[in-house]
Amino acid sequence: METVSLVIAWLLAGFLAALMVIIVVLILIGRIKLDRLISEPNGDASLSRFQFLIFTFVIGASFTLIVVGGDPPRFPETIPSEIFVLLGISAGTYAIAKGIQSNYEIRMREIDRETTGQESMRPEP
């Protein structure tokens, strides 16, 4: 029984390693494109997306470090509510900023339509 679980563990480790290598290689050769990772539809970079990216990465990396740091690896006993509050603040800011930006772009398209009498060339929000 122990041998079976050991074999399964090694298979899983190998599978995850292969998956990780594939993802990194695809990013490096450009098949997975990250160029618009923090961009808005109009092409400008969004600070709220960048902040969301940073916090997701930091909290995700912290969680991973805590899980794999233990011997044997284990889920943390408690996750402080402040972590969720921080993620909530970041996500909330992103959502509100996106709402403000969309409202602005809709308004600008309406103005374009009113002044030119044609559909706006601006990208849809």
């Binding site: 090694w10 943390p76 402080p80």
Partner: protein
């Protein structure tokens, strides 16, 4: 060779490190678009043509970026020093983060909501109520 859990631990750490390095490198070289991330947006930043930006730096965006990086470094440093459990975040830090976000959002709303801006509306309402009280 160690146990599967040891191998998995190093795999995950290497993967996260590689991702972070790739994103950092692509941000530095411009492959990930970071165009105008710190510039003010909206009518106040628009030049004579509606499609040209005046290049005005936005203090609210810069302060948000600085606070975000500061909080992230604090969190990571705590976890690296004590990887056993999640660290508790001081309430003051959360309040700082919330205040920074609030400042950024109110500036953004004031710049981008043309008819009328939120702060202008609030100022107008306060002026009207002050005038009605003084009568």
């Amino acid at each position: 060779m160690g146990s599967p859990t040891t191998v998995l631990r190093y795999e995950v750490l290497l993967f996260l490190g590689a991702l972070a390095l790739i994103i950092f490198y692509q941000l530095l070289t411009g492959k990930i678009n970071a165009r105008r991330m710190l510039l003010a947006k909206g009518r106040a930043a628009v030049g004579p043509s509606t499609r040209r930006w005046t290049g005005e730096l936005s203090p609210s965006r810069i302060q948000l970026l600085v606070v975000t990086i500061g909080v992230s470094i604090y969190l990571l440093a705590k976890v690296v020093r004590d990887p056993g459990e999640f660290t508790e975040i001081p309430t003051g830090l959360l309040l700082l983060m919330a205040g920074s976000e609030f400042l950024y959002l109110t500036r953004k709303a004031n710049k981008l909501m043309p008819f009328p801006g939120i702060l202008r509306s609030i100022r107008r309402m306060l002026r009207r109520s002050r005038n009605s009280w003084s009568r």
